[in-house]
């Protein structure tokens, strides 16, 4: 049955938490109340990516893009758009195009994007397998079951040049081939959905918006390497993604796409979900496998690699969610098609979670080789609040900062590593002039220290020493010799740590020391924090010529450090001040200065 209008409501976690569900219910109720329930289909989809403007509602076929919708808007949307056929102008997104009619392709945020992984996110109802199937879903699986040999599949991946999206960029075809060639009575397929980088949510959105794309790829891998059991290891903090996976698995089973004798091919494959429990190190593949085995998630030295000796000692293919989400399209459209997207070093696309001090925060998918400038300025709309760009961190706690001079670098695995950062899983954090580089390095180091499993001493002890040195510098007690010492410890950790957590943990320090040595020196030599962030190095002062004596700051100061009569210039007692910044935020006359 064809509907007159399709209304797509973003049901990603970010929008869901800003009341997407209430909007969905309200739209359904209004359709009924206004007598158009039979003509309109209301769907809850995965994340549209444009989280900054959420919750988002898209109405087809007009492709009208409504932003920041509230449940109360439902009545007007149905009455005007659906019943009378008039767009509700006040709710349309109009920023980037002069025209009133904001179509998705007019919006700059989407123009430079190219969607393979997120092809279905925001277009289908992830809780309905029929919609996935209607968009070429499970076509690849049919091909693999009935037309292609294992050699063909691996050759296709090889032509595609797909590299793992979990961080290290290892060629996927090689992993699969190792496992295929390994002799064993049992092999396993594992999805790494642990997504530990704090500030990244690509995998979460993929699973929430298009769970079948991952399931289909797992079954394909099972057939190719000779495995009939898969596991999805997912963070317990992702309840919506878990729920949608469970629904997807049940629907696939019902349709004979999962379980015994898939589509009558004689091939059996089943999948089980295993929950993570909040340990970053469990994103590392050997630790993850230990965790599935029910143990403490501690890495073990490689080789042997999991491809040969993995889960319960059996050959195991383990890939990242985004890697999995590329597979079916490569089979359907061909490795050749895929290899033409991106750069020679890295083919295909990459999804980034663009966050921090950026105007349009959200999820973006771009061809490899897109420059940082295009992502930050053309898609992201530049820095928020008219501030100055300072740096971008890719690779999360394992990566490093990249500065203004390098914004025109085309992004791929090789180019980011050359800059002292890394691709990582796709976190992209933008910093502006208000962010202190020492403070951010401290944030990442503390994260890595908290998350170190403690098994090897370079990481356990080295990480702690680095964090202590940063703390010392941010407190104003740093000495010049500390800088060399940090580099020395960092280099030692890189060489001697057992797993990549310890090997990459010093990166935020080493790269920021390289690009922002002056800022470290300001903390150490001048005892100043230029960004005004490190509390021990700043003071709040009242400017006599601006203070009108309104007493607002004095009333708000939690420690009564401000004195002064009404209509007279106030003063801060520096010995009592705890530098909470309340006075600074309170003063309406710009009379308080941070030094």
């Amino acid at each position: 049955m064809a509907f007159r209008n399709y209304i797509l409501v973003c049901g990603g976690t970010a929008c869901e938490s800003s009341k997407a569900n209430a909007i969905y219910e309200a739209l359904l109720a209004e359709c009924k109340a206004q007598g158009v329930a039979d003509e309109v289909q209301v769907l809850k989809t995965g994340c549209f990516g444009f989280c900054e403007q959420g919750p988002i509602v898209k109405i087809l076929p007009e492709d009208s893009f409504y932003v920041q919708i509230k449940p109360e808007d439902a009545k007007e949307l149905i009455a005007e758009h659906v019943v009378k056929g008039r767009e509700v102008k006040r709710l349309l997104y109009t920023k980037d195009c002069g025209r009133k009619h904001a179509r998705v392709e007019d919006i700059e945020f989407y123009q430079k994007q190219f969607r393979i992984v997120l092809r279905n996110c925001g277009f289908i109802d992830p809780e309905n397998i029929e919609e996935y199937i209607a968009r070429e879903g499970y076509v690849a699986l049919e091909k693999v079951l009935f037309e292609m040999s294992s050699d063909d599949v691996i050759a296709e991946l090889r032509t595609a040049g797909l590299r793992g999206r979990g961080g290290a960029g290892f060629p996927t075809w090689m992993k699969w081939n190792f496992t295929r060639q390994a002799e064993s009575d049992q092999k396993f397929i594992v999805v790494n959905a642990d997504e530990g980088d704090p500030g990244a949510y690509m995998d979460r959105s993929t699973l929430e918006g298009d769970p079948h794309s991952v399931l289909e790829a797992m079954i394909i891998a099972g057939k190719t390497v000779g495995s009939n059991q898969g596991y999805i290891y997912i963070r317990a903090e992702y309840p919506l993604a878990i729920k949608r996976l469970e629904i997807a698995m049940a629907q696939a089973r019902e349709m004979g796409l999962l379980g015994k004798n898939i589509l009558g091919s004689g091939f059996d494959f089943d999948i089980e979900i295993r929950l993570g429990a909040g340990a970053f190190v469990c994103g590392e593949e050997t630790a993850l496998l230990a965790s599935i085995e029910g143990k403490r998630g501690m890495p073990v030295p490689r080789p042997p690699f999991p491809a040969v000796k993995g889960l319960w000692g059996k050959p195991t293919v383990i890939n990242n969610v985004e890697t999995w989400a590329n597979i079916a399209m490569i089979i359907v459209k061909g490795g050749d098609w895929f290899s033409r997207i991106g750069t020679a070093d890295s083919s295909g696309t990459k999804v980034f979670a663009l966050t921090g001090k950026i105007r349009n925060s959200g999820l973006v998918e771009v061809p490899m080789g897109t420059t940082l400038r295009e992502i930050i300025y053309d898609i992201g709309g530049g820095i928020a609040d008219g501030k100055e760009f300072k740096a971008v961190q890719t690779g999360g706690p394992s990566g490093g900062v990249i500065t203004k001079e390098y914004l025109d670098t085309p992004i791929d695995f090789g180019s980011l590593t050359k800059l002292g950062s890394m691709m990582g899983s796709g976190g992209m954090i933008i910093m502006d002039e208000d962010d202190c580089i020492v403070d951010v390095a401290k944030f990442y180091l503390n994260f890595s220290v908290d998350e170190s499993c403690g098994k090897c001493s370079p990481c356990r002890i080295g990480g702690r020493s680095l964090a202590n040195l940063l703390e010392k510098i941010s407190k104003g007690n740093g000495e010049l010799a500390d800088l060399d010492q940090m580099i020395e410890i960092g280099e030692a950790m890189k060489k001697a740590s057992l797993c990549a957590l310890g090997q990459t943990a010093p990166n935020p320090i080493l790269s920021s020391l390289h690009y922002f040595r002056d800022e470290y020196l300001a903390h150490i030599v001048d005892k100043k924090c230029p960004a005004g962030k490190c509390k021990s190095l700043i003071s709040y002062n009242i400017l006599p010529d601006k203070c009108i004596g309104c007493t607002a700051c004095a009333r708000k100061c939690p420690v009564a450090a401000i004195s002064g009569e009404r209509r007279e210039v106030h003063v801060i007692d520096q010995a009592a001040c705890i530098k909470c910044g309340v006075c600074f935020e309170t003063c309406k006359f710009g009379a308080i200065e941070v030094r």
Binding site: T13, A14, S17, S18, C51, E52, G54, G196, D197, P198, G199, A200, Y201, R204, S205, A236, E237, Y238, R274, L275, G276, A277, G278, A279, F280, S291, I292, E293, G294, K295, R296, G297, W312, A353, T355, G356, K357, S361, G362, Q393, G396, G427, I429, M431, D435, V440, F443, Y444, C453, P558, C580, G581
Partner: protein, 158 residues
């Protein structure tokens, strides 16, 4: 001490779940998740019971419990306030929210108020970075939170 008693009783569903998973390899973490789902934390008594039911040394169970941040060994408050400590939230002032909340409630991160009403928990990225800084109370997420809004948000739960 009726509360203590409740904490010791595994529901029929929980027992069925454990029975179902008993023979599966690597079941411990899944079982602990299910126990925590039921009680909000994993008490010594619960751990004892799991040890018995899975026929596993208590030390193994505590080894796992203490390794994974997600598992709680003390009872959280009636309303558990989670503050996102992820990078995006940190840059957008998440640390100021921590200061303000510890101030307002008089407890540190990881603490529970004396009346048992609130607990404070620092969590890693909850995947709503576009809404940073984010806090979440009993599953309800508040985005772009400012210090000034906190007293109002908390009073909703009081």
């Amino acid at each position: 001490m009726s509360i203590m008693k409740e904490e010791n009783i595994f529901s029929k569903e929980l027992i069925a779940f454990i029975e179902e998973w008993k023979e599966k390899p690597g079941n411990l973490i899944m079982v602990l998740h299910r126990v925590q789902e039921e009680f909000g934390f994993i008490s010594r008594e619960s751990a004892d019971k799991v040890a018995l039911m899975l026929d596993m040394p208590l030390a193994t169970i505590y080894g796992v419990l203490s390794f994974y941040h997600f598992f709680k060994m003390v009872k959280p408050g009636e309303h558990n306030i989670q503050i996102c400590l992820g990078t995006a939230c940190y840059l957008k002032g998440g640390d100021a929210l921590v200061d303000e909340l510890t101030n307002l409630l008089g407890i540190e991160l990881g603490g529970v108020t004396e009346d048992g009403k609130f607990s404070l928990e620092g969590v890693r990225c909850v995947g709503c970075c576009g809404l940073a800084p984010v806090i979440s109370i009993g599953g309800e997420v508040f985005g772009k939170v400012t210090k000034d809004q906190l007293p109002g948000i908390i009073s909703k739960y009081n």
